[in-house]
Amino acid sequence: MFNQSQLDDIDNAIVTNLIEAGLNNVIFMDMAGNTIAKHDNGKNNLDSTAFAALAAGNFAAVDAMAKLVGESEFSLLFHKGKKLSIHFSKADDETLLISMFNKEISLGLVRLKVADTIKEINTILANG
C-alpha cells in the first residue's frame, strides 16, 4: 500500500515529466489492473478503469509470451495508431506506467521522459 506522501510524489513526477511535456494520458497502475494514479491533459474522456484492466491483461500476456521464448521479460511495449500511440513500461515487478500521446510528440522523447519518471517513482517507492 502506498502512503499519502508517496502518492503525492508519484502524481508530481507524472505531471512534471509527462503531462507538462504534452502527453495526453498517463496511468500508473498495478499488474492486477488497479489504477494507482491517473492524469490527463483535460482534453479527452478515457474510460481509465476498463483501459487499466485491458492494459494489465495485455502486458501480462506479452510477459507470458516472453517466458515461452526464453526471455525473462519484454519490459516495454508500444502500440502505434494513426493519431494516438500507447507506450507501456514496467516500473517495478508490481507496477506499470502507461503513456498515451499524439503524433506531435516523438517516441524518443516519450521513452526518455518515461525512463526519468520510472527512475523517480522507484526512488519514491524505495524511500517508503
Binding site: 502506498f2 489492473g33 485491458l54
Partner: protein, 200 residues
C-alpha cells in the same frame, strides 16, 4: 490484493468468476450488467472468440458506495473456461481478492468441475494464495435443466464433489434467468469486504 488509495480515498477490489467452460461465468456478469445497468458507469468489456467463447476475460466494474470514508469499486472478471486457456486463466487471477466458482450441474460435466477446481487451487498457489483462506463462494448453475429432462447432479452430490473440504457458502443458480445471481454476488462482496476491512 485490493488496492487501497489513501489519497483519492478509493478501494478497488477484484473478484473473479472461475469454473469450467460453458458453465455460465459470462452469463452471471451479463445478468449483473443488465440488472444494475443504471449504476454501472461503463460498458462491460468482453474479449471473446468469434464463436462467443471467452478468450481472455470479461470485465465489469461498479461502485458499491462508501466504507469508512473510502469509495469502493468492485471489479468483476471472468476467466476463459476452455481447458486450453489455462495460461490466461492464471493471468486473470493475479491480484484476486475473492472468487466465485461457477460449477455446471449437468451430470456429464462432473469431471470438468472437479478438474477446474483442482486447477484453481494450483493456479492460486503460483501467487502464494490459498483457496482455503480467501473469500470464496460456490455456485451450482443450470439447475433448471432438470425441467428439460437433462440429467443433473443434485446439490448434495455437488457439495460432496466440490465443497466437502472448502465448506464455502453455496448457491443453486439459473444464471440465464438471473436465479440466485445477485445473492451469489452479494455474498462474495460481503465476504471480500470483511476480509479487507482490517486494512482500512
Amino acid at each position: 490484493m485490493a488496492l487501497i488509495n489513501v489519497k483519492t480515498k478509493e478501494v478497488q477490489i477484484k473478484i473473479v468468476y472461475y469454473g469450467p467452460g460453458r458453465g455460465g461465468k459470462t452469463t452471471n456478469l451479463e445478468y449483473i450488467n443488465k440488472k444494475y445497468r443504471e449504476q454501472i458507469k461503463t460498458e462491460m468489456v468482453s474479449l471473446k472468440t468469434q464463436d462467443d467463447r471467452t478468450l481472455f476475460f470479461d470485465f465489469l466494474p461498479f461502485d458499491v458506495g462508501q466504507i469508512k470514508g473510502f469509495d469502493v469499486t468492485i471489479q468483476l472478471y471472468t476467466v476463459p473456461g476452455q481447458v486450453k486457456y489455462n495460461a490466461t486463466r492464471k493471468l486473470v487471477l493475479r491480484g484476486v481478492d475473492g472468487i466465485v466458482f461457477v460449477a455446471d450441474v449437468q451430470k456429464e460435466q462432473r469431471k470438468n468441475n472437479i478438474e477446474s477446481l483442482n486447477q484453481l487451487y494450483e493456479n492460486l498457489e503460483t501467487y502464494n494464495l490459498d483457496l482455503f483462506k480467501m473469500p470464496f463462494v460456490m455456485q451450482y448453475n443450470k439447475i433448471d435443466l432438470k425441467n428439460s429432462g437433462i440429467p443433473i447432479l443434485p446439490s448434495n452430490i455437488m457439495q460432496k464433489d466440490l465443497n466437502t473440504a472448502l465448506r464455502a457458502p453455496a448457491f443453486e443458480a439459473t444464471a440465464l434467468r438471473g436465479g440466485n445471481v445477485i445473492p451469489t454476488l452479494k455474498k462474495i462482496i460481503s465476504m471480500t469486504l470483511t476480509s479487507i476491512q482490517g486494512q482500512l
